[in-house]
Symmetry: C2
DNA sequence: TATTGTTATACTCTATAACTATA
DNA sequence: TATAGTTATAGAGTATAACAATA
């Protein structure tokens, strides 16, 4: 007797499709939720400031971690080394980040933000935080906090 | 006084970078959590059954929604029409789905699974559910349920 | 020899525009 | 005219392999 009972809202948004077993799959629910947040990012910061989500994240991680290396950025974002090189090339070309050879290990590089990069990422962060808060109004403060904490807990399970 | 106090685990996984304000951004936490679930999917079903995440989701949505149309699939997955066409082409080429003209509206198509498609998606679902459960053991049953429900609530905010 | 990072190249995925056929 | 779906084409993003410099 497959899918006997089912909640009335056990559906995908737009399409109003029956999710069935997908309802209990974390990967699927993450992807569905990300459709919303990707739209929020694009509207609040991506389009007005010409930033891709990954570019924003790189800028913010550099902003919070002084003299970070491309290698550590690649690991944090689960990207390959050539991948991070290309993004840093673009950001450097726009005058948002600086790459300097490490003095202790001349193979490595220290990445930092320019004034312009700091200003841009600050504005982007402000915009996205505000729009997320606005869009997530139907969740209580407790629900938003709980959601972020649980996601953080999941993210930290990465080896 | 920027980022005054900060919890000891306010860090990204692998890189152990300071997330700072990113900690409170839903879009970022979703992306970080998805790195884990994408790995779980690939290991449990993607590689052994030669399925992309999007292919698995299409198969499962078709499985749960009889005679669904490509248009509705496209909306549910936030894809363009040419995008869904290509994925359905591939799945049909592998003998996993069937496309038949609708009798009531001859522009539309009814998508359904073949026996082979049903068997494959069932196996994939079983594999992924089992591995997610295994990987998420450090979360309590209540936490896993709460996380899925909150994500579903966020996903349904899509207009 | 191993590590950090770049370059070269090809592949996957996606998007837009133009098209066919039905309504 | 509008809608469902396809085809054609180009672009964005990513991965692998080969490389240079340093440890």
């Amino acid at each position: 007797m497959p899918h006997a009972k089912r909640a009335a809202d056990d559906l995908t948004p737009l399409g109003k499709l029956d999710e069935g077993a997908l309802h209990g799959l974390l990967g699927y629910q993450l992807a569905q939720a990300a459709i919303l947040t990707t739209g929020v990012f694009t509207h609040a910061a991506g389009q007005p400031l010409e930033l891709r989500p990954v570019e924003f994240t790189i800028l913010q991680l550099v902003n919070e971690n002084a003299d970070i290396t491309p290698g550590r950025l690649a690991k944090a974002l689960a990207m390959t080394a050539p991948g991070i090189t290309i993004w840093l090339d673009r950001l450097e070309g726009r005058g948002l980040v600086l790459r300097e050879r490490s003095t202790t290990d001349r193979r490595a590089q220290n990445v930092s933000l320019t004034r312009s990069g700091q200003a841009l990422v600050s504005q982007a962060l402000k915009n996205v935080l505000a729009e997320e808060r606005s869009v997530l109004q139907s969740l209580s403060e407790g629900e938003r906090t709980m959601l972020l904490e649980l996601l953080h807990k999941v993210a930290r399970l990465r080896k």
